[in-house]
């Protein structure tokens, strides 16, 4: 687990030699700091740990004893996960499975679409220079200040009722109810200001020589974009993709506004939010459901920690 440290190392310019660092660290090092740090880490981890333990305990035990008694009387089961995922323990046929499918079906396109469109825009603004390209870039960049809440009502009206100007119908109702398209579109639109900004930062720094050499060889903009810009932008694309995937996976507001909440389209996170109200006392099921929803981000976290931290830091002002 060196990802967090590695990112810090890249954020911080190396100023000192290792000897100096070691000397300083030795002087500062104290058992008090160690103990404090261990206590804090334990406090930070215990709530999640309790959730994990509870999700493996039989229903009767969960209702009558605290999860910490598990270690005195260990009795574990996978029933909760089976109920939650397959046999409809939450009063819906198929349990959480349809919602889990929805989460993936929403998050993957809602990552790919803005990624591609933003990469194109970033290249266009950085390398196909035209009059006003700086102004366009700055406007997109400035749109980061608009909170999602400012766009929800009109966007929902647009999707469900079409576009009117006075009493004249310009666009008909989109007829997208019950499909993923409104959520995909909404996430794509909301992701663009940050995505264009981040990718532009990276793509505009690509070496000019390579671009010019390709142009001399007769490659047009479209060929350069596909064969040079996309492959070279791997790290930036990966950071943004991970950030966006997790943002969509963890999102509640957009899902609540644009999916309606049924098993046809609504994602897992939305369903869990509803369940925490109506099934709040069935902790063995709620904890198992919650763990199903957080296991994907946790897997991404542990597997791709470096990109993950970088993406999150870069995206911290989004919303």
């Amino acid at each position: 687990m060196s990802g967090v440290g590695a990112v810090e190392a890249t954020l911080a310019p190396p100023v000192t030699g290792p000897a100096a660092t070691r000397a300083v660290r030795k002087v500062f090092s104290s058992p008090v700091a160690s103990v404090a740090m261990i206590v804090l880490t334990v406090v930070w981890t215990i709530p999640t740990f309790g959730l994990l333990v509870t999700s493996f305990r039989p229903a009767g035990d969960v209702a009558n004893t605290g999860w910490w008694t598990f270690f005195l009387h260990p009795k574990a089961t996978l029933d909760n996960y089976h109920t939650v995922l397959f046999s409809g323990g939450f009063g819906v046929g198929g349990g959480l499975m349809p919602y889990l499918v929805n989460s993936l079906a929403i998050a993957i396109p809602a990552t790919v679409f803005p990624l591609v469109i933003a990469a194109m825009a970033a290249y266009g603004l950085a390398w196909v220079r035209f009059r006003g390209s700086d102004a366009v870039f700055f406007t997109i960049f400035a749109l980061q200040v608009v909170p999602l809440q400012m766009a929800l009502i009109p966007l929902l009206q647009l999707f469900s009722g079409g576009l009117h100007l006075g009493s004249v119908q310009i666009l008909p109702a989109f007829g997208l109810g019950g499909t993923y398209a409104p959520v995909w579109l909404a996430h794509t639109m909301f992701a663009l200001p940050l995505a264009v900004f981040l990718l532009h930062n990276f793509i505009s720094q690509l070496p000019r020589d390579i671009m010019e050499a390709a142009q001399v060889d007769g490659a047009g903009h479209f060929k350069i974009f596909r064969t040079i810009v996309l492959p070279l932008s791997g790290p930036a694309l990966a950071s943004f993709a991970i950030f966006q995937f997790l943002w969509v996976w963890n999102d509640l507001l957009v899902a609540l506004t644009f999916t309606g909440g049924g098993p046809e389209v609504a994602p897992l996170n939305l369903r869990l939010s509803q369940l925490s109200g109506s099934f709040g006392s069935k902790w063995e099921l709620l904890t198992a459901g919650a763990f199903v929803s957080i296991v994907v981000p946790l897997a991404v976290f542990f597997a791709l920690q470096r990109y993950f931290v970088r993406g999150l830091l870069a995206g911290s002002v989004k919303g």
Partner: protein, 335 residues
């Protein structure tokens, strides 16, 4: 009931198959359209080549941003001066309502509490942990575990903490960790945490702090490591130790980063919606601005009031995001 279970499983599976086919079909179609447009546009030569490239590369983003963000935001501002179904201009009545109704007063006060307390506590904790861990071996293990909640959604985090705050009558065995701890420490009748205002608002803030501290820690830790050793050494020569070194050298050296962390957490806090919605649904006097905006617009169906609250949120967030973005930009420029 093995039969009904297997039937259910089969229908779930076929349902999943249809959904995934649609999803990947959509992605394939999207990529195919783009490649086709690239191919067609790539044939344009001479004077046409550049304008075509501009339209193809930048056009989609501009169209989507205009339709999805610019026009809707303007329209929200416009709707905030209209009544609930947007049929009649009511002037500033929605804003009057927002600033004079008792219920909304409570919402604004709660929101103010949130944006003052949660970011300050988060930043202070993040700074303390960054300083503490800076001196330790295996610090990345500690840091990873403290950063981990950043990966969890606010909904997931809320369920985790709802379980910690679970209430049982004192005579029964407890299943909530907080009540159990209080009783072990001698408080025999702890309250029903989530129902007791104003304590519950602070208990909800704990969730925000729990999630965001990792972010504060990583950013501040990087800033601390960037302080040149010569400065620290010089201060130590002059006799600065421990607390003095921290307050007179470390903190001033990372002041800009501290402010950026503080404003970033403030922005997140101001827009917080998931925590309140999942924990209390805005009941028990815990309502905040972002959730009230959602309730007014989509539960009560009052577009005018909802829009007015959205505009208030926007105006509140504007200086923070503005400052933040300018700072980030300046930092990038100097590096």
């Amino acid at each position: 009931m093995p039969d009904s279970t297997s039937v259910l499983a089969a229908s779930t599976l076929s349902d999943a198959l249809v959904k995934f086919t649609n999803t990947f079909g959509a992605i394939l179609a999207f990529v195919a359209v783009i490649l086709l447009v690239f191919f067609a546009a790539g044939r344009a030569t001479g004077r046409l080549a550049k304008p075509v490239a501009v339209v193809v590369f930048v056009g989609p983003a501009i169209v989507l941003l205009t339709a999805g963000l610019v026009v809707p935001a303007l329209r929200t501002a416009f709707l905030s001066f209209y009544n609930s179904d947007s049929s009649k201009n009511v002037g500033v009545k929605n804003y009057q309502w927002a600033f004079t109704t008792d219920d909304i007063h409570r919402v604004l006060i709660n929101t103010a509490l949130w944006i003052v307390v949660a970011p300050l506590v988060t930043t202070a904790l993040g700074l303390s942990i960054a300083v503490l861990a800076d001196r330790l071996k295996r610090q990345s293990v500690y840091k990873s575990l403290i950063f981990l909640p950043m990966a969890i959604s606010f909904v997931g985090a809320s369920i985790i903490w709802k379980f910690v705050y679970d209430y049982r009558e004192a005579s029964r065995p407890q299943i909530g960790l907080l009540s159990q701890l209080c009783m072990a420490l001698g408080w025999s009748h702890p309250p029903n945490w989530i129902l007791s205002a104003p304590l519950n608002t602070f208990l909800l803030m704990v969730i925000m702090v729990w999630v965001q501290t990792g972010f504060a820690m990583v950013v501040l830790s990087a800033a601390i490591k960037a302080i040149p050793d010569e400065i620290v050494e010089a201060a130590r020569m002059d006799g600065a130790r421990g607390g003095r070194l921290f307050f007179y050298v470390t903190v001033p050296m990372i002041r800009n980063t501290l402010v950026v962390v503080l404003t970033t957490v403030m922005i997140t806090t101001l827009k917080v919606f998931d925590i309140v919605r999942t924990m209390t649904g805005g009941n028990f006097k815990t309502q905040v601005l972002a959730n009230e905006m959602y309730s007014q617009s989509f539960v009560q169906g009052d577009n005018g009031r909802g829009a007015a609250l959205a505009v208030i949120l926007f105006v509140a967030v504007l200086p923070l995001v503005g400052y933040n973005i300018v700072q980030l930009r300046r930092e990038r420029a100097t590096r």
